[in-house]
């Protein structure tokens, strides 16, 4: 048997269903965001871990010039090493018919017999290699897909200077090559870098590695000391031209995947609380006003002999029902949305399977925040109501006292008609209430504006990178650090308008405890085609006396201008340099470091060397230039800026950054929920006055003006306030969206604010329309009887 009070509860909920749903929805959105994001990150982490484990991905990679096979046994005996394996890797140029430029690729050996001890592959199509056939290859599935290649097709490639025709027998995926990046670029692109697997014996023959390996891969035991293991590996391989062991965290593909998952993780920590806080605040305001409206009933119940506690718990239950309902629906939506997104991301990350995990903690947090904020709202108002005697609470509508506002704006008010005076006085008379509604709408505006700022920030990153910093059309990379005469050769090509040399040197930066694997870009003193820019988008001239770091790199290394940075060069003689930091550049894509080209060459004691060039090309002669480049033996790769730009755009739209669209949508739903609630509550409070206006002869529109005019004023005040809030909020959200790969600026752009403002205004118009429709439907006689 349901007690009468509980039946009242259910009916009250039913009576205010529209509003209960609107409040529940806002809470649900905040909780959904939390559950979705944490579930997504947990699942992706878990899936990646399982994938790496099942396919035995190595944890240490040690490239070496040429080391005898017997060293593998020695490496395996290093304390902390689980498995050790040696393999042959090499680079090849794949000549795709129909494509202007050959594509760089990596060739990796597989044992002639059996499975590799480490770095196994997952065959998606075709069959395994036949150990006796030297021309058989497996091709990375994503690359094959990008070029429409299938098992049975032939592939022409240049390996170690020799042209060969290879037969594709199967397609494979590998945790080692989830992402492949064309040389000289930061962002992966499936089509522009290939991975080929071949029999070890065939590859050893091609690269002169019989009885030897040029890369050792190792897995580690549970409590292994990575640093000690890598130091020992380096010691053993050093006599054979060891190029320095590195861990999985520095492996290109894993680094990218980790960056992307970390991006989502940062967003999952940083952004949902903001949404949840806004939802919680709204819930608090709404609950305050609902309980206030129940004043008379509370008096009645107390008159019947219900204690404060009983009455209090009754309303507490009402509030809890909405909060818990919202949190529950939000959790379900979060699970569904997280599940759908994980499918999208599994495809994006190229995981062959997915493990769906939820973070139970997120449910608890979501529920707690909703319940606490709702309770806070309820408790504060109930305290005020309890202080009234039952008689006072039940007394027929005592008109709220407007005398305190006195003659606010004496002259101004005389210019207004009575309905406008009503609007103005309602706002001034109940400043806390008006302020609450205003801040609620302002929060919606802030959320929307900051999300739109983030959208624009993504665009700006691309525009600045490919429009301002990089003004070239083509980037050419050479097979090795070539002499500067290569630049003159490029300049002579018909159709080439401008050439700017660059030297990119792979290095490890160290500053105190912080280190980063990256590269130094040697640029000419006043670069025109590829520049570093400062915060004001002005070119930073290159200096011979030190290094300029992108701000993202400076942050990673915890270093500022004036300090000295240790740079371990990973090329040639591998010198270790101490270079002063002389400037910080704005970073957009990646975390580059810049030096003046000849100063860099001097430091490396390799004068007049360049590793690539930026070209500006006459569009009419584009094809001629590309085919000339294709025939130059020093050219290892050519990347068109348009392709690079497309690749970045793709990562931003399909990778972790794509969650911004989901968040943007949620921001708009919350904004609408807030505005709609504000309109509904205002209507509930004014229903009686509005009916009175109608009775004395005001038309529907004239009566609605009093209500909607108030909403309009509150909304209009909320817009600039929200814009101000949004400005600061956008920095927090931008930080959440910035990864090591790209930085999202929270630069103020008027369009985002304009658009957010129109969204809020639209929400206000729609909400106003919905409330007005309800007003029009209400029978006058009933409205007059509405409880105050």
């Amino acid at each position: 048997m349901v007690s009468p009070l509980n039946r009242k509860l259910l009916r009250d909920l039913w009576r205010m269903n529209g509003q209960a749903i609107a409040i529940g929805l806002v809470i649900a959105m905040g909780v959904m965001m939390l559950v979705m994001m944490t579930g997504l990150v947990t699942s992706l982490d878990e899936t990646r871990r399982a994938y790496y484990e099942r396919y035995r991905l190595a944890e240490v990679f040690a490239p070496v010039t040429r080391a005898p096979e017997r060293l593998i046994a020695k490496l395996a005996k290093i304390p902390g090493v689980g498995q050790a394996d040696g393999r042959v890797i090499g680079s090849a140029l794949i000549d795709l018919s129909g494509r202007e430029l050959p594509v760089q690729s990596q060739v990796v050996s597989l044992p002639d017999q059996g499975e590799p001890r480490l770095n196994d592959i997952y065959l998606t199509d075709g069959r395994k290699l036949n150990g006796t056939r030297a021309d058989e290859i497996l091709l990375l599935q994503s690359f094959a897909q990008a070029h429409g290649l299938r098992p049975g097709d032939e592939l022409r490639a240049t390996m170690n200077g020799a042209r060969r025709t290879l037969r594709i027998v199967g397609l494979a995926q590998s945790p080692e090559f989830l992402y492949t990046t064309a040389p000289g670029e930061l962002v992966p692109d499936d089509g522009r870098f290939g991975v080929i697997w071949m029999n070890r014996s065939a590859l050893a023959a091609a690269y002169d590695m019989r009885g030897a390996f040029n890369e050792a891969v190792l897995s580690l035991g549970r409590n292994a000391n990575n640093v000690a293991v890598m130091a020992e590996v380096d010691r053993i391989l050093d006599p054979y031209g060891g190029l320095g062991a590195y861990g999985l965290e520095d492996q290109a593909s894993n680094r990218f995947v980790s960056e992307e998952i970390n991006g989502l993780r940062v967003q999952s920590i940083g952004v949902p609380p903001i949404f949840l806080a806004v939802a919680a605040f709204l819930l608090y305001i709404v609950v305050t006003r609902i309980v206030q409206a129940e004043r008379e009933e509370i008096g009645l119940m107390k008159a019947f002999g219900y204690t404060n506690i009983e009455v209090g718990s009754h309303y507490f239950k009402l509030v809890l029902a909405i909060a818990i309902g919202g949190a529950f629906v939000g959790s379900l939506m979060g699970i569904a949305a997280g599940r759908a997104l994980i499918d999208v991301y599994t495809g994006y990350f190229k995981f062959p399977f997915l493990i769906f995990r939820l973070d139970p903690f997120s449910f608890v947090i979501g529920l707690l925040v909703s319940v606490l904020s709702a309770s806070a709202g309820g408790v504060l108002v109930l305290r005020r109501v309890f202080s009234l005697t039952p008689a006072a609470a039940m007394r027929p509508p005592t008109p709220p006292d407007f005398s305190r506002i006195g003659r606010v704006g004496g002259t101004l008010i005389r210019l207004l008609d009575q309905p406008s005076r009503m609007i103005l006085r309602q706002l001034v008379r109940q400043p806390v209430r008006s302020l609450g509604a205003m801040i609620g709408i302002a929060s919606g505006m802030a959320l929307s504006a900051s999300m739109l700022t983030i959208f624009a920030g993504f665009e700006r990153t691309i525009d600045l990178t490919f429009g301002v910093m990089d003004r070239s059309d083509v980037m050419v990379s050479f097979t090795h650090a070539a002499s500067e005469t290569t630049i003159f050769e490029l300049q002579r090509l018909p159709g080439v308008i401008e050439v700017e040399p660059v030297r990119i040197v792979p290095v490890i930066f160290r500053s105190g405890l912080h280190s980063h694997r990256g590269a130094v870009n040697g640029l000419i003193e006043s670069p025109r085609l590829n520049r570093a820019i400062d915060r004001d988008i002005q070119t930073i001239p290159m200096r011979g006396d030190g290094i300029i770091l992108a701000s993202a790199l400076a942050d990673i290394l915890h270093i500022t201008a004036g300090e000295t940075l240790t740079v371990e060069v990973r090329e040639g003689r591998q010198p270790v340099l101490d270079i002063p930091v002389v400037g910080i550049a704005k970073s957009m894509l990646g975390s580059p470091a810049y030096m003046e080209l000849s100063a860099l060459n001097r430091a490396l004691r390799e004068p007049n060397r360049v590793s690539g060039a930026y070209l500006r090309v006459d569009a009419a002669h584009g094809d001629a230039v590309y085919s000339a480049l294709k025939d130059m033996p020093t050219v290892a790769g050519v990347s068109l800026k348009s392709q690079a730009r497309g690749a970045v755009q793709k990562v931003m739209d399909e990778g972790s950054g794509s969650i911004r669209y989901v968040m943007g949508a949620i921001a708009f739903v919350i904004t609408f929920g807030i505005v709609y609630n504000a309109a509904r509550i205002a209507y509930a409070e004014r229903a009686r006055d509005l009916a009175s206006l109608r009775v004395i002869g005001y038309t529907r529109s004239e009566a609605a003006f009093v209500l909607l005019g108030e909403l309009a004023v509150v909304t209009l005040i909320a817009l600039p306030v929200g814009a101000g809030l949004g400005y600061y909020l956008s920095f927090g959200i931008a930080a959440g969206f910035s990864t090591e790969l790209y930085q999202i600026p929270a630069d103020f752009n008027p369009a985002s604010y304009g658009f957010a403002a129109s969204a809020v205004i639209t929400a206000a118009l729609v909400s106003g329309g919905m409330v007005k429709r309800d007003m029009d439907r209400t029978e006058l006689v009933l409205a007059l009887k509405t409880r105050e």
Binding site: P399, R694, G697
Partner: protein, 234 residues
């Protein structure tokens, strides 16, 4: 004398089927212009429903109701609004003043939109409220609030004034004063005044008393001699 209202077979049914409530069961009524008419009857007898339909606040289910030569039952919503705005004044038990407007402004609320209103000051003078016109409703006593409500209702110079329990929330002294104002308005403006009340004694000041029961008129009495509000036993 011409009738300001006449109804034929006026019926109002709330709800449908078994749960239907017959609030009015075919009321035939004629109300002459310029009279004070008191509607008496127990709760649920249909008097408020009749007043709501005649006042243009509600619609009948069947039958016709005429205001002069205008058919109230065929009016569109906009016409009803126009009718209320131009011809009708309402006074309610709980005043229904706008709390955010002063007494004076509450009256202005009506004079701003009416076709041929008197000045707010004049309307307030009619109800003997001259001093506290700049006060907000919360600063006024119940009787004062009711007088503001009456001033607001008469400021448009209505043809008819509807009063639903106008003295229901007031003490006897204040109530008498309010009735006095209603009588004045009837005499000075020539407005027809329809009063719904539980207080049978109020009937003493009426030209015509209509007794309601169970959704219909049971008796119409024309008073030969009218009492003044002061003579009414409270």
């Amino acid at each position: 004398m011409t009738n300001i209202y006449s109804t034929q077979g006026l019926t109002k049914v709330y709800g449908e089927g078994r749960s239907a409530v017959h609030a009015l069961r075919g009321v035939d009524l004629e109300i002459p212009q310029g009279e004070i008419v008191v509607l008496l009857g127990p709760s649920g007898s249909g008097k408020s429903t009749l007043l709501n339909i005649l006042g243009g606040l509600d619609r009948s289910t069947e039958g016709t109701a005429f205001f002069q030569d205008q058919n109230l039952t065929e009016m569109t919503d906009a016409q009803q609004t126009r009718y209320r705005r131009d011809h009708v004044g309402f006074v309610f038990q709980f005043y229904n003043l706008m709390p955010s407007l002063t007494a004076y402004e509450n009256v202005e609320l009506v004079t701003e939109i009416a076709e041929n209103p008197m000045g707010p000051a004049q309307a307030l003078a009619l109800v003997n409220l001259r001093e506290r016109v700049d006060h907000f409703p919360a600063q006024l006593s119940g009787g004062e609030q009711q007088r503001v409500a009456i001033a607001r209702a008469v400021a448009k110079q209505p043809n008819v004034l509807f009063c639903d329990e106008p003295t229901g929330a007031l003490d006897s002294k204040t109530g008498r004063a309010v009735l006095h104002v209603l009588k004045d308005i009837n005499e000075k403006l020539g407005a027809t005044v329809l009063i719904i009340t539980h207080a049978a004694a109020t009937a003493g000041m009426a030209d015509r008393v209509i007794h309601f029961a169970d959704g219909n008129i049971v008796e119409v009495i024309e008073n030969k001699t009218k009492l003044t509000p002061e003579e009414i036993e409270w």
